[in-house]
């Protein structure tokens, strides 16, 4: 099942300006495409358009069959919502089996609940569940109908951090072998789950590629910043001469983990402004001229000291 999407849709929220989203992409059988973008970038609208909830120009096709004229119920998709959208008037088991009477072949509800670790919830009502439990039920409901394509709209973002981390891991098993489009604003989730990433901003796809390509080689300032790279203006001579031979670039994009610190030597000299412990490493904030550069290191220098900073050419990008 290859999903081909080439759509343009306009949406007007109550009392807001009309907003247009447009995208053309393909998702190959069994692959997970992650649409990564800030809130308001149109990624949810895009996903809902693919599902058939909004009228649009262009087409949505599966293995060459045009789905555009089909109503959502005839597209054989699954959809997982940010706020779960479980039917409050049905038990967990009834929610999961909701698509039963509309599909000839379905999954095994008990097995799905067991795989997602929620077998004991079958007779409960959604209002009695935690967020993580609700989202597992919503996943089971979508998988139950054996969808051709699974669409997921920020399924983790309403959850607290430990629950997010756990479900993100389990999501890898769920998405294994499933053709999926996954929308998120969280770059960690995108990097973990994606076979391909589509970075979206202001209703347009601004970069696409494998996770490593997008994270390590951003093609614009926006993508660099949104994926967590430093994006340093090359407006001082020492910085420019250190990294940019041609002299045409305006910015240096470099990921914090690719910034090398050493004592005294290096491309430029920086002052250590701040050292903050994150989970596995230290985030060091450096001042180079007037600019801030973040670096990850396991061996942090003392705040206030001077360090040499070098940017490996292979791990940094000129924009």
């Amino acid at each position: 099942m290859t999903l081909s999407v080439d759509v343009e849709a306009t949406f007007t929220a109550r009392g807001a300006d009309p907003f247009t989203t447009a995208a053309a992409f393909e998702v190959k059988r069994g692959e997970t495409a992650v649409v990564l973008g800030p809130s308001g970038s149109g990624k949810s609208l895009l996903l809902e358009t693919v599902a058939g909830f909004h009228s649009h120009d262009g087409s949505v096709a599966l293995d060459g069959t045009d789905l555009t004229p089909k109503a959502p119920e005839n597209r054989r998709f699954g959809f997982v919502f940010q706020n779960y959208m479980l039917f409050p008037n049905m038990t967990v088991a009834e929610n999961v089996r909701y698509g039963d009477r509309y599909h000839e072949t379905t999954g095994d509800a008990a097995e799905l609940l067991a795989e997602l670790g929620i077998s004991d919830l079958a007779d409960r009502y959604p209002s009695t569940l935690s967020g993580g439990e609700k989202q597992r039920v919503a996943l089971a409901r979508s998988l139950y109908v054996r969808p051709d394509v699974l669409l997921l709209d920020e399924p983790l973002s309403a959850l607290d951090v430990p629950t997010q981390t756990r479900l993100r891991q389990d999501m890898l098993d769920v998405l294994d072998g499933v053709t999926a489009v996954y929308v998120t604003h969280d770059r960690t989730t995108a990097r973990t789950l994606a076979d391909r990433i589509l970075v979206m901003n202001e209703g347009r796809i601004v970069q696409r590629g494998t996770p490593d390509a997008v994270f390590d080689r951003p093609t614009s300032q926006f993508v660099a910043q949104f994926t967590g790279s430093n994006c340093v203006p090359l407006d001082t001579d020492d910085l420019r001469s250190a990294v940019d031979g041609s002299g045409n670039a305006e910015y240096l994009a470099v990921r914090p983990e690719n910034v090398r610190l050493d004592n005294g030597s290096g491309d430029v000299t920086a002052r250590v402004e701040r050292v903050v412990r994150e989970d596995a490493v230290f985030r060091v904030t450096l001042a180079v001229s007037d600019h801030r550069i973040d670096a990850y290191t396991t061996d942090p220098p003392a705040p206030g000291s001077s360090v040499g900073v070098s940017f490996e050419e292979s791990a940094s990008t000129l924009l």
Partner: protein, 255 residues
Amino acid sequence: NEGVFGVTIAVLGSVLLLAVGLPLAMFVARQRPSLILERALDPDVHRMLYLSVYAPLLAALVSVIFGVPLALALSRGFPGRTLVASLVDLPLVVPHSAAGIIVLFGFGRGGAFPQLTVLGTVTGMVLAMVFVSAPYAVNSAREAFEAVDDRLEYASRIHGASRFETFRRVTGPLAVRGIVTGGVLAWARSVSEFGAVAIVAYSVRFFYPPAGREVTSQHAPVFIRKAYLTGGLDQSGAVTFLLLLVSTAVFLIIR
């Protein structure tokens, strides 16, 4: 300063509470039980109560049966929706006796259906009641439909249910409280209505099962005014008290 604000609020608020509560309290205190009992045993009062429960029930049923589809359409939106919504709300601000005049122009002699007799009939009474009470049924159902998250309907459809199935299994069940509330409100509004009913159907002939034949009576608010004009405050007070017992029962159902 803090205390002053709290006291000011309490005092001002109490004035309105008195304007509503005092007459109710005085009304109850000044009733004579013997007179109430006498009226409670009066067959004329029974006929009036029968008519005053039965006709509003018909009106509420009509309002719900035809109002729920309209509410569903309004909650989803369609071209001209604002106009239709305004039309539905209009009876709320039409003065009550004007509503009666309007119903007579529409369905009375020279109106839309020449075969129809509305003056002094249950049909006319119900039409007048529907005119003034339908907005309650429609608006309550509409709010209930609008309170159902669009994405719950999306979730239903993407997993295979058609529009109708989605309504039957998700939207309808989730809105059923609002629909019932709307029906009860429409009923209560119909029970209350004096102006429109007094114009269209002051006295009504209707089939009264306990007697096994047609009888003539009035809708409760009309009956009360008649009792006041012919029997004075005490007579009408006793009937009002009986009717308030019924109203309070309605009221408890609503809450």
